[in-house]
């Protein structure tokens, strides 16, 4: 099982950001942290009880991920308390990947050291760009120089696994600018890179600027794809092969947490708007059913919860997975991975050959050159990656 902890607060909302995040006062922050504590304890209880009748090994937590917002804004003491609560309420594997998302503008040597000492072993730095003009346009709170410094601070603090988040297809960006960012990033020798094309989301400041005509033009699809293809080629030549649609790393450093999402790992999302995918005892017999559920998006609503019967309310509010759901997700999530899915695993999991369910879809997309098969592996082609949604939509069964 994986754990996700959401910390929705940040210094200042970035112009492109449509996450559940924003600045908040101290009172709200404290109320939130205390609700988070209740939630952790609530789930700790619920899952402890749930395991007993099975009599088996406790479920190991293989990954913990602090995301946001800007979780690195937490004081060392607050973070440490949450880590303590997690350890107290769940069985965390000694091998677990434990990630903290970190805004370079919030990183100082002391804090990073403290994060490392309390058990975090991976830092994900939200760099986005190494161009101060672009950073200003995005509304980031840090400079390119601070971003570079954050990498060495993290190394100094003892982090052996550092990720950099970069954003391509920014307004006004051309291929040369983008590749320059990428090269700077590689020169800092991170262990992992996430490169996303910026998507203009409704309701963001960017959307308003776009409307008002004060935003430089976004790269067109043609340029966006060139950036994407060049990124793949360049990073691969530097030892960071693409292993997921937007992620690049050597085999050892693939992000276990996110990979878990694509490969059907169960996870518990803690905090505002966090999503979960968990086996819960459903119905009279107490048999386990997989459920997808999600916490409320409103802080007010979230902090008002008592989290006493988390399992029951998750079942009530969530969606109990059907075999069709599981098959669809196996396909469209698995295909986000460059290595794709294993048809043999499909047969094992669902008791029938993949061709019986998806024969037509597979044949068509293989013929169109969007899907490839090698042995029992099935994965998106280069073109298929560009048109991933077109392929994935066809794996929907409804």
């Amino acid at each position: 099982m994986e754990l996700y902890v959401h910390y929705p607060f940040c210094v200042k909302k970035c112009r492109y950001c449509d996450f559940l995040s924003g600045p908040a006062g101290e009172e709200t922050r404290q109320a939130y942290l205390s609700a988070l504590e209740r939630e952790i304890r609530g789930w700790g209880n619920a899952l402890k009880e749930q395991k007993n009748p099975e009599g088996g090994e406790p479920v190991m937590v293989t990954s913990v991920y602090f995301g946001g917002g800007t979780p690195s804004l937490m004081s060392a003491g607050e973070a440490d308390h949450l880590m303590f609560l997690l350890a107290e309420n769940f069985t965390i594997s000694p091998e677990a990947e434990i990630t903290m998302e970190c805004n370079p503008g919030t990183a100082d040597a002391g804090k990073l050291k403290a994060f490392h000492d309390m058990g975090f072993n991976r830092i994900s730095l939200g760099v986005q760009s190494f161009d101060d003009g672009e950073l200003a346009l995005l509304g980031r709170i840090h400079t390119a120089r601070q971003a570079a410094e954050a990498v060495s601070l993290a190394r100094d603090a003892g982090f052996m696994n550092v990720n950099l988040d970069l954003m391509s297809a920014l307004p006004g960006q051309d291929l040369r600018h983008w590749m320059k960012n990428l090269k700077t990033a590689v020169s800092l020798e991170p262990d992992h890179l996430s490169c996303y094309s910026l998507i203009l989301e409704e309701g963001t400041e960017f959307a308003g600027m776009q409307e008002a005509g004060t935003l430089p033009a976004f790269p067109d699809e043609e340029l966006d794809r060139r950036m994407y293809h060049e990124t793949g080629a360049f990073l691969s030549s530097r030892g960071y092969p693409r292993y997921e649609i937007s992620n690049y790393a050597g085999p050892v450093y693939e992000c276990r947490h996110n990979t878990g999402y694509w490969q059907g790992e169960e996870y518990l999302g803690l905090g505002l708007g966090a999503s979960s995918y968990l086996s819960l005892p459903a119905g009279e017999g107490g048999g386990l059913r997989r459920v997808r559920f999600r916490n409320p998006d409103s802080i007010k609503e979230y902090v008002a919860r008592d989290f006493r019967n988390v399992s029951e309310s998750a079942l009530r509010e969530g969606h109990v997975q059907t075999p069709d759901d599981e098959m669809e997700e196996f396909m469209f999530l698995g295909l986000r991975m460059i290595r794709g899915i294993d048809t043999e695993e499909f047969r094992r999991k669902f008791g029938q050959p993949i061709g019986e369910i998806y024969g037509d879809v597979i044949r068509r997309h293989v013929a169109d050159g969007l899907l490839c098969r090698e042995g029992t592996r099935m994965f998106l082609s280069e073109r298929g990656l560009d048109l991933a949604n077109t392929v994935m939509a066809d794996f929907m069964l409804t």
Partner: protein, 604 residues
């Protein structure tokens, strides 16, 4: 004691749209009764099979009202409704033929409008006594005196003592009822002469078969009368006769000369009781049929296809049911490569077609794709044979065609002088041949044109309305066929012909039409995995082209944390979108695209 016939008034209400025709009808129904005093005494209602009556609502073509006039007598009013569109001109004329008078409603604020005139002239053609009523006098801008003067000047009928009313507020409705008694003549006719009745409408009822709406000229009809339809020759025994209560049928013993009512006679097919036909008694026929009977002739044809191909049987079922009630609707199965199985349907006109489409969608919940409406072309082949073509796909190869003919209509457009210019321009652009202008007074004229039917079936009516600000009215009748330089315009998507989009057009309009179709399709067809050329071609020669570029990107770079549900919803929506696609060759075209490209009025 005056005779029964002398206390009957058969009339209709005519008006320009929105001048208050239906409101006035409602008020008149409110102010009058359903049964005569004598009938009430006889407790006719008790004798009726009330249960059986309940389920049926008369389509409001006629209603009988009982009015006790100031002279102390009880009068029977038969208010006959008339359809209001040029498509149903024939039906209108049959409805008028069933009346002896017409009540002309004129809006006191607007005065005479195009349809006021057109409808009045139509009524006068049928020798109806027309008397005016000035409506909406409650409005501050009402100017009844001026409007009355206008009626006298323009139409030339007495209007000085026309009732000034407000149908909306129920003001002065009594005066209208009295005027009906005084101004509209009682029917004349000989009840003892052989039966002679006009069918002005009919209705199919699943229990009783066809219910025939008649106006008796002479003679009598009662249960057991053996009737004969003069045009079809079919003979049947009458099962029931009666008249029209508001919202229901009320059986009675007998209908006689001058009366309006209905009969049933276990007639299974509405085609045996056509509107306009004459009914007589089998053993004692009348000397000759009433004038003006024309079998309904579809003028406009289009292919109708269910969006969901699996619902073809339902479409068939629905069309069969419609036909029970609509003798002018014709259909036969056809197949389209692009749209699957459907029917080529014949309609009186575009409105008729729209009504049918709307009912298919509303009453049967069927999503229908219709091909572009077309007319019947006559194709004379080199081998001397002639072929009638209603579906462009059936047009023979150009090398086999000697020449083609298209239907033309003679059209009369009534307008105020201000709009003559724009209207002439419009007619010119529709290949109209100008015949004459007749001034009916200084400011009003009738323009006469010969127009190809295929030029008026799309959006002519709308175009006319918009270039005359709603003032012009329009009437046409089929004149015949004339040779014409016609070509078949084909649309190719990814080099494959889309049969549903083929048109027959005049050579001179082909390029323009083809270009517009391509432009429109380009916007309607989503980007595919490959580049898709869209071409318009005449006889294999491409005359216009557009290109839908290949799809370059369709991927969500970021998948926010574990929120799989959100991503899944997006994919489901995308999949849902694909279901609405129709494969044409290897190209996915949204089904709405056909509709949107073919949409009436936008194709020009």
């Amino acid at each position: 004691m005056i005779t029964e016939q002398a206390r009957i008034r058969n009339f209709c209400i005519i008006a320009h749209i929105d001048h208050g025709k239906s409101t006035l009808a409602d008020r008149m129904i409110e102010k009058t009764g359903v049964l005569t005093e004598r009938e009430m005494k006889d407790q006719v209602l008790d004798n009726m099979d009330v249960e059986r009556e309940r389920g049926i609502t008369i389509k409001s073509q006629a209603v009988r009202l009982i009015y006790k006039a100031q002279d102390g007598q009880e009068y029977t009013f038969n208010l006959i409704d008339t359809p209001g569109h040029v498509d149903f001109n024939y039906e209108v004329s049959r409805s008028l033929a069933a009346c002896d008078g017409a009540l002309l409603v004129v809006d006191a604020t607007q005065g005479i409008q195009a349809q006021t005139l057109a409808n009045t002239y139509l009524a006068m053609e049928h020798d109806l006594e027309v008397f005016p009523v000035i409506n909406k006098i409650d409005l501050p801008s009402a100017r009844p005196e001026e409007v009355k003067q206008e009626i006298e000047d323009v139409i030339g009928i007495e209007a000085a003592d026309a009732p000034e009313i407000s149908a909306k507020n129920g003001i002065n409705i009594e005066a209208v009822l009295e005027e009906v008694v005084k101004k509209i003549p009682a029917p004349s006719g000989d009840a003892d002469a052989p039966l002679k009745a006009l069918i002005f409408d009919s209705l199919y009822d699943s229990y009783r078969g066809v219910i025939v709406f008649i106006r008796l000229r002479d003679g009598r009809i009662r249960k057991g009368t053996r009737v004969r339809f003069l045009s079809s020759g079919a003979a049947e025994e009458v099962v029931e006769v009666g008249y029209f209560g508001p919202g229901r049928f009320i059986p009675c013993e007998e209908l006689s000369a001058g009366m309006v009512g209905y009969f049933t006679a276990s007639i299974k097919n509405i085609r045996d009781a056509r509107v306009g036909d004459t009914v007589t008694e089998d053993g004692r026929p009348c000397d000759k049929a009433l004038p003006g009977y024309k079998p309904a002739q579809p003028m406009v044809y289009a292919g109708l296809y269910p969006q969901d191909t699996a619902r073809y049987p339902e479409l068939k079922d629905a069309l069969e049911k419609f036909q029970l009630n609509d003798a002018s609707l014709s259909f036969e199965p056809e197949t389209s490569l692009a749209l699957g199985f459907g029917f080529r349907c014949g309609f009186l006109g575009l409105l008729h077609m729209e009504v049918v489409l709307e009912r298919l969608e509303r009453d049967y919940d069927l999503d229908i794709i219709s091909t572009a409406p077309g007319v019947v072309y006559k194709v004379y082949k080199q081998d001397g044979t002639m072929l009638e073509v209603t579906n462009p796909s059936n047009l023979p190869d150009p090398s086999e065609i000697e020449h083609m003919e298209e239907p033309i209509v003679s059209a009369e457009i009534m307008t105020t002088a201000d709009y003559i210019g724009p209207i002439m321009q419009l007619c010119q652009s529709r290949r109209g041949v100008y015949l004459s202008t007749e001034y009916i007074e200084a400011t009003r004229a009738i323009l006469k044109y010969e127009l190809p039917l295929n030029e008026i079936i799309y959006d002519f009516f709308d175009a006319l309305k918009s270039c005359s600000r709603g003032y012009a009215s329009f009437d046409y009748e089929l004149k015949g066929y004339v040779p014409s330089r016609l070509v078949k315009l084909d649309i190719l998507v990814n080099r494959e012909q889309v049969d549903a989009l083929s048109f027959i057009v005049h050579e001179d309009g082909a390029y323009e039409r083809g270009r517009k179709m391509c432009e429109k399709l380009k916007d309607e067809i989503p980007r595919q995995l490959f580049e898709v050329p869209i071409q318009a071609a005449v006889g294999g020669r491409v005359i216009a082209r557009e290109t839908v570029k290949a799809m370059r990107k369709d991927v969500l770079a970021k998948c926010y944390g574990g929120d799989i549900t959100r991503k899944k919803k997006l994919l489901e929506k995308q999949k849902e979108g694909k279901k609405r696609m129709q494969m044409v060759g290897s190209v996915e075209i949204p089904k709405e695209a056909f509709m949107n490209v073919l949409k009436l009025g936008d194709t020009k």
